[in-house]
Symmetry: D2
Subunit: 131 residues, 4 copies
């Protein structure tokens, strides 16, 4: 489960809901934190020339989130990584209510060539206990 992510005032819209596009940002925060907890710095990975752009994303919005809510995201690696990483997300608020779920597929990209690549071996090893 991720650290709590507080819904900011600037995240709200005029319905008084957190604007739905922010869930994609929260998924990103949570998966980078999850990788970081395994000792994987996305910042360093990117500096070493490996990019992980999002290739596909889906979100199911169950109940709204509101200003000042404290959301926590459960991140799950769905399948063994090959050319991409498939994550699923479960977002809970401070009342333990499931507010949304989602999935993202991230493609390994060689930043120098702009071409797809396979999951680097060392990353594969670190992720192995989770798939």
């Amino acid at each position: 489960m991720s650290n709590p992510i507080r819904v900011r005032y600037s995240d709200t819209d005029q319905m008084g809901y957190m604007h739905h596009s922010n869930y994609l940002r929260f998924f990103e925060v949570a998966r980078l934190e999850w990788l970081s907890s395994l000792g994987i710095s996305y910042k360093k990975m990117e500096q070493s020339g490996i990019w992980l752009p999002v290739a596909h994303a889906s979100v199911q919005f169950k109940v709204p989130s509101y200003f000042d809510d404290e959301l926590r995201v459960k991140v799950t690696l769905e399948t063994p990584p090959k050319a991409s990483l498939l994550f699923s997300y479960h977002v809970f608020n401070q009342d333990e209510t499931l507010v949304s779920t989602g999935k993202t597929k991230l493609a390994f990209l060689n930043a120098a060539t702009g071409r797809p690549m396979r999951c680097p071996d060392d990353l594969y090893q670190v992720l192995q206990p989770y798939f």
Copy 2:
């Protein structure tokens, strides 16, 4: 096809791509413009107590978008509206390249009661030629 939506500098991320979360915002701009072209003001609809929060969204990212790109979004109503509106989106850049596709499901909500409702009759009539 929507009016062109120019990718702003503030939409980019450090990969030099438009951050993927912005596609959900562009879908929203395009569907409200599409409704507006049929004489439906989402602003007035909301003021009359009918909300349309997003219940589900998915995005397929095909090629990146960049700062200053001019994106146009083809909006399609997928099914006859009942308790929700299902839209699909095809986003093209200035080179006519398909950069992303997506779908969103929007649920009709009675703002006063917070309860789901069916598509209002007058809206159904206006949308009828499109499904």
Copy 3:
């Protein structure tokens, strides 16, 4: 000093900097946290019909912030509150470097009437030790 606010990937722009507009959002996070630490819930204040829209803001950008930086914001109440609250901000990164400073003036607004109002007495009492 605020809790650390981590620069998100979605906060960056194609220079690799945190986009400058985000500082206004971070100021907001920090001042609401500061008020919260004094027992003042902005959420409840707003629900009670008192709004605090920003009337003026200025930001001095000293050095860039980067993805994954941990910023902390020192919030200072500048003057006794009358019809508005004047805050100043000093933003430091994880190396204790001052990355930006700023000021915002927030005007008390009666949400029901849309008219300016004076700082409520109970809020004035709570803020008194800080001006």
Copy 4:
């Protein structure tokens, strides 16, 4: 005067206002469009190694902007460019009401060295009629 910039649903906050941080984004859109109207592509300038990060910004919020408002921004170059560009902004809505004003100072930066530089000669020539 810039092309109209429509306030998006995602730009609003729970007061029903456009969130104030968006004005900095709109200033950016307007000044890049203004430069573009003089034949200056910021995209190409950046690719040639000249960056223009914001060094200082201020915004005066006069009346709120709302979802679906059409804002136009008058951009004025304030002083002859030396190591920086100083712009002022006047933002009007569809009723010709002045909704906000602002200033930004942008510093010329040699991207390769990370050091300040003077306004390039060719840019200076193009800007000369405007200061």
